[in-house]
């Protein structure tokens, strides 16, 4: 993974969050939640700062980050796509929907498109099983998705990007 240099502001932000939790190592998961919600992801450099602040080893922070699926060390795309792979969605065809998304974006689960627009992940049950199979793009939930609809859903965001680019 390429080394990145954290901006001063980001380091201050992490320190601030750690202080809020009294630099208590027992609050590691809460710290990680807050840092990720602010910075989007938890690269090694961020983990180093957290380890220093909480006075624990980087290995310990890394161990926790990689243990929980909610934490990510890779930046997500502008429009993160999540396909629900809960059982209800699975038996209603989520796998076919997932492979269609993979095919159209030419990326695998956990990857981001080269232009940084879309990233793809699977999640376990959104809890909207009545709408199975479910696909989420950002916060928006698409229900009863068929492989045929995938193109249209992705196009919504591609056009969005194009429109933004024009106005910018």
């Amino acid at each position: 993974m390429p080394k990145i240099k954290l901006a001063e502001k980001a380091v201050d932000l992490i320190r601030e969050i750690c202080t809020k939790f009294n630099n208590d190592e027992g609050e590691l998961i809460n710290v990680l939640h807050q840092v990720q919600s602010k910075l989007g992801y938890l690269p090694a450099e961020v983990q180093e700062v957290i380890a220093r602040e909480l006075n624990i080893s980087v290995a310990k922070v890394y161990g926790v980050v990689t243990f929980y699926s909610f934490f990510t060390m890779l930046p997500k795309g502008q429009h993160p796509i999540s396909v629900c792979m809960g059982t209800a969605c699975y038996v209603r065809g989520a796998e076919q929907v997932l492979s269609e998304i993979k095919r159209q974006l030419s990326i695998e689960v956990g990857e981001t498109t080269p232009d940084g627009r879309f990233s793809l992940s699977c999640l376990r049950c959104v809890g909207a099983c009545g709408l199975a199979p479910v696909v989420m793009v950002g916060e928006k939930v698409y229900g009863r998705v068929s492989p045929q609809q995938v193109h249209k859903i992705i196009a919504e965001y591609k056009e969005g990007c194009a429109a933004e680019a024009k106005t910018a």
Binding site: V64, V91, V126
Partner: protein, 597 residues
């Protein structure tokens, strides 16, 4: 407070919210205020009604009219017709699939007739963000009566007598757990609510927290009083933003009303609740793993004993119960142990909430008395199998449970019967499958989940499940042998016996139960290399029936890899070496000339 004559209840569960129920609520409020009716008609966003299949749902009281699949555009008509003119909007009413008659009163809906709602008593009735509505339905009365009229021992006795068992899956008697934690001597104890619902396809706990958060808070306080703890922690999935939000609001309101904090109701009892976030690890549903996660560590389980009741969070005695278990506590205190014990079967008392999903007509959240049969749940409440297909199996207990066949349809559901049938109660996920589902693939699906979620601490679970998965993969790809089936069984038994925690000990259950009940299907995969339900792609073979093919060229034109050849108006042919088995030709053919074999 305004004197409302009518109430519009809009479902605010995650499913309905995903279908714009918030906009529906807003449209109602706007339209009503335009007509000057805001003081007469109250619009409430409630928790889940349970009937997710038909969402978004709007219920209008006092008429008890149940509108389904409501869109934001329908609101004007609903206001002008139903609320102003008193005429029900026929096209949005629920239609009984049997009689094809629209149902004018929700009481007449089959979906609700057989249900008994204890844990879900307030879901879909009250505004979960308003503590007054909870109090109006006997909320916090149980806490009051415990603190002011009962000793902790008396309260524990009631819970023990009620026969309530843990609803998170294990089925351990709740009263006994409380008693053991009470007897542990320590300067500090903790009450923990396990709201880390990780079972895919299950959303019971989330719906309770979204629809009735105060019932959990009240029960945790009662538990604290009983075991001698002044601190409660809710361990909740970060993936449940709505539930987190509502729980936060509820805790804040309870503090403002003096129902949490110091000297509650002047009794001298102190209790407060904090929220801890999970971060997506199924194994954290296991008590010891959950406790480690709350301590900021990797959520790996440790050997029991010591049980959390002796040494739990920060090494102090800790009582862990799940959301649904807690939601049952206030009604038991209010109505008595005898009332609760009269519901259910001999060894499983009360009700159970199930998340009904999969190939079933009425996907949703239901609560039925223990002892209800699977047939009643699937056909009477669930409305039968989707698209008129044949029932094949029902999976209970999630990745730790097993598949039950139609032979078990008349088995009364309770902890012991499900275990005897090779499955388990689990937290309450119930996934229905039809004849198009391949049971080998389903077993593989669950194994994939376990593989992903195994914490890796003990070898039988970490390595054993990986090997199990490889064998299943081999079978679904057409490379399996009959010996593989024996290997599956042997390895499963080892994993069950040797794993450290509940996750590993139950992870082979989906494999074992499908081997038991669907052995023929496994045999077909390894012997004749066919998949009877047509799900395993590698085993499929698409062929064109010469006598039926009209040579319309539709398949030829749609085949993405050019595997189909043939002249116009004469039979076509699929080159098997090129075919990627995408099924497009099968879908496109108008003459049923393509068969899967």
């Amino acid at each position: 407070m305004a004197d409302y004559t009518m109430h519009v209840l809009v479902c605010g569960g995650t499913g309905c919210k995903a279908s714009q129920s918030e906009l529906i609520k807003l449209n109602f409020q706007n339209r009503l205020s335009e007509l000057g009716l805001s003081d007469e008609v109250q619009v409430v966003m409630t928790g889940c009604f349970g009937f997710c299949e038909k969402g978004p749902i709007v219920k209008i009281l006092p008429d008890n009219t149940f509108y389904v699949h409501v869109t934001p555009e329908d609101v004007t008509e609903l206001v002008e017709e139903h609320i102003v003119k008193g005429r029900k909007v026929e096209r949005l009413l629920y239609v009984d699939p049997e009689t094809q008659a629209s149902v004018h009163d929700a009481k007449g809906m089959e979906f609700y007739k057989k249900q008994v709602r204890i844990a879900l008593r307030n879901c879909g009735f009250i505004n979960p963000e308003n503590i007054d509505e909870y109090i109006a339905r006997d909320g916090y009365a149980a806490l009051g009566s415990c603190l002011l009229e009962k000793t902790p021992e008396e309260t524990i006795r009631i819970i023990k007598d009620s026969g309530l068992r843990g609803r998170g899956g294990g089925g351990f008697p709740t009263g006994l757990k409380w008693e053991i934690t009470r007897k542990s001597v320590s300067d500090q104890k903790y009450v923990v609510c396990n709201a880390d619902e990780g079972d895919p396809g299950a959303f019971m706990d989330r719906s309770i927290l979204e629809g009735d958060p105060h019932s959990v808070i009240e029960a945790m306080a009662i538990c604290g009083y009983c075991i001698g703890a002044d601190k409660g922690l809710v361990y909740i999935r970060a993936e449940y933003p709505l539930a987190v939000e509502r729980l936060k609001i509820a805790i804040k309101q309870a503090r403002e009303y003096g129902l949490l904090g110091e000297d509650i109701m002047g009794s001298g009892f102190n209790f407060d609740i904090e929220i801890r976030y999970g971060a997506g690890a199924f194994v954290c549903g296991e008590e010891t793993a959950l406790i480690h996660s709350m301590e900021g560590l990797r959520g790996e389980p440790t050997v029991k004993p010591p049980f959390p009741a002796e040494s739990g969070y920060k090494g102090k005695p800790t009582n862990v119960n799940n959301v649904e278990t807690f939601a049952n506590i206030p009604p038991i205190i209010n109505k008595g142990a005898g009332w609760f014990a009269a519901i259910g079967t001999e060894k499983s008392k009360g009700t159970k909430v199930f998340a009904l999903a999969g190939k079933i007509n009425n996907v949703g959240l239901i609560e039925v008395p223990m002892g209800t049969t699977l047939r009643e749940v699937i056909y009477d409440i669930g409305g039968g199998i989707k698209d008129g297909r044949e029932f094949k199996a029902v999976q209970t207990g999630g990745p730790s449970g097993g598949c039950l066949t139609k032979d078990f349809l008349d088995t009364p559901i309770d902890y012991d019967n499900l275990l005897a049938a090779g499955s388990m109660m689990g937290s309450g996920g119930m996934i229905v499958m039809d004849e198009t589902d391949c049971m080998v693939s389903i077993a593989k699906f669950y194994l994939e989940f376990t593989l992903d979620e195994s914490c890796g601490k003990c070898a039988p679970c970490r390595i054993g499940n990986k090997r199990l998965h490889e064998i299943l993969e081999r079978i679904t790809e057409g490379n399996g042998t009959k010996e593989d089936l024996d290997r599956l069984r042997m390895l499963s038994t080892v994993i069950k016996d040797a794993s450290l925690c509940g996750l590993g000990q139950t992870s082979p259950n989906p494999v074992l139960s499908t081997l038991d009940h669907f052995y023929d299907e496994y045999l077909a995969h390894v012997d004749s290399k066919t998949c009877p339900s047509g799900q395993c792609k590698a085993l499929l073979k698409y062929t064109i029936l010469e006598d039926k093919c009209t040579g319309c060229t539709l398949c030829f034109r749609n085949c993405p890899v050019g595997a189909i050849s043939g002249e116009k108006r004469s039979p076509h042919y699929i080159d098997q070496s090129l075919c990627i088995k995408c099924g497009v030709c099968y879908e496109k053919c108008k003459f049923d000339a393509i068969i899967i074999g």
